[in-house]
């Protein structure tokens, strides 16, 4: 792993870090969206069942 890092320029390492952060944010956003979708659908269905 360290050997692979050594082949990268400082700028390339910064780019890789930014890509990693973007992937983390994207994954986090996807999890949040699926969670929100589930909660909204449950609330809509429960509300619909009660009416």
């Amino acid at each position: 792993m360290a050997a692979a890092d050594d082949n990268l320029s400082p700028e390339a390492k910064k780019s890789r870090n930014r890509r990693s952060i973007a992937i983390a944010l994207g994954l986090g956003a996807f999890i949040l969206i699926v969670y929100l979708t589930t909660i909204i659908r449950i609330s809509v269905n429960v509300g619909g069942a009660g009416s």
Binding site: S9, A22, F30, T37, T38
Partner: protein, 300 residues
């Protein structure tokens, strides 16, 4: 060139064709609001997530298109600076990225709305990537005529997301974008003819010739403007829509006529039509949206 290790998140975002995505978001939103104004109901949060899923699905098909067309993108001035030709992203990464987002967007749309909409989105991606990019684009000058169906489907997908069905009015929106695509892209091809010929893409001007292309642009423009009046006939649009569609339709035909009568090799008229075609599509969809918003909120 190998800029791969310097790839930024922005390069991946560029794979999604953000300008195409913005048009997809807009037309899908209009389709969804038309369905809601017509009596369908969808939770605002689920509506927003559905539009996001449709936009990501469109972006995913853009990434897969860039993967498949990397060779021709590299020789066309308009596309040479895309992330794959410039070496920032490897083809296989674009393919993986596009496939991943395709799967996630279809699954998310199914979760947020219904499986009819999800199936339509999956079909849209399949049509754009396999039917248009892989098959038609390099084999026939009718490529963008038939392939235009993929770009025309987002309002139908969004209508289905809101209602679970795709009624006639949804397909009228489809028809407007479908008929708009040939004059829009052929106008572009008229002044980018060398680009497409260099890449070996059989666009109408470099296969059938300039005169035939101009004639077909005029015919499609007339049919498009007539289709643009159809929403008024079915009740999807009201008097305001009729006025906007008629006025901008008259402008469209006038510019198509200017292209038709322009001297050979003259590019100005084609550039004007290309620019106006974008304004036309925005205007007719914005008019529908304005009437739908008035129906939903303006009368209370």
């Amino acid at each position: 060139m190998n800029n791969k290790s310097a790839a930024e998140p922005g390069h991946y975002f560029a794979l999604l064709k953000p300008r195409v995505m913005s048009l997809v978001i807009f037309t899908a939103f209009v389709g969804m609001m038309a369905a809601v104004a017509g009596g369908s109901s969808l939770h605002p949060g689920l509506a927003a997530i559905s539009i996001l899923a449709i936009a990501v699905g469109a972006g995913a098909s853009g990434a897969l298109n860039m993967w498949w067309d990397a060779d021709i993108d590299a020789v066309m001035a308009r596309t040479a600076l895309r992330p794959i030709p410039t070496g920032f992203i490897h083809k296989s990464e674009a393919a993986g990225f596009g496939l991943l987002l395709s799967g996630l967007s279809v699954a998310l749309l199914g979760l947020a709305s219904n499986y009819v909409a999800a199936a339509l989105l999956a079909f849209t991606i399949f049509f754009y990537v396999v039917i248009y990019s892989m098959w038609l684009k390099r084999s026939t000058p009718q490529n963008i005529v038939i392939g235009g169906a993929a770009g025309a489907l987002p309002p139908v997908v969004a209508w289905a997301a809101a209602s679970g069905t795709a009624p006639l009015n949804a397909w009228i929106l489809f028809a407007i974008i479908f008929l708009w695509t040939p004059p829009h892209f052929w106008a572009l091809a008229l002044y980018r003819e060398g680009d497409y010929a260099r890449a070996g893409v059989p666009m109408m001007p470099n296969v059938a010739g300039e005169e035939s292309t101009k004639r077909q642009i005029l015919i499609y423009s007339i049919v498009l403007v007539l289709a643009g009046l159809a929403p008024f006939a079915t009740g999807l649009g009201g008097p305001f829509y009729l006025a906007v569609s008629s006025a901008f339709g008259a402008g469209f035909i006038m510019l198509a006529w200017r292209v038709f009568t322009a001297p050979p090799r003259s590019k100005d008229a084609a550039k004007s039509l290309f620019a106006f075609s974008i304004i036309y599509l925005f205007a007719v969809f914005a008019a529908l949206l304005a009437e739908d918003l008035w129906t939903l909120y303006g009368r209370s």
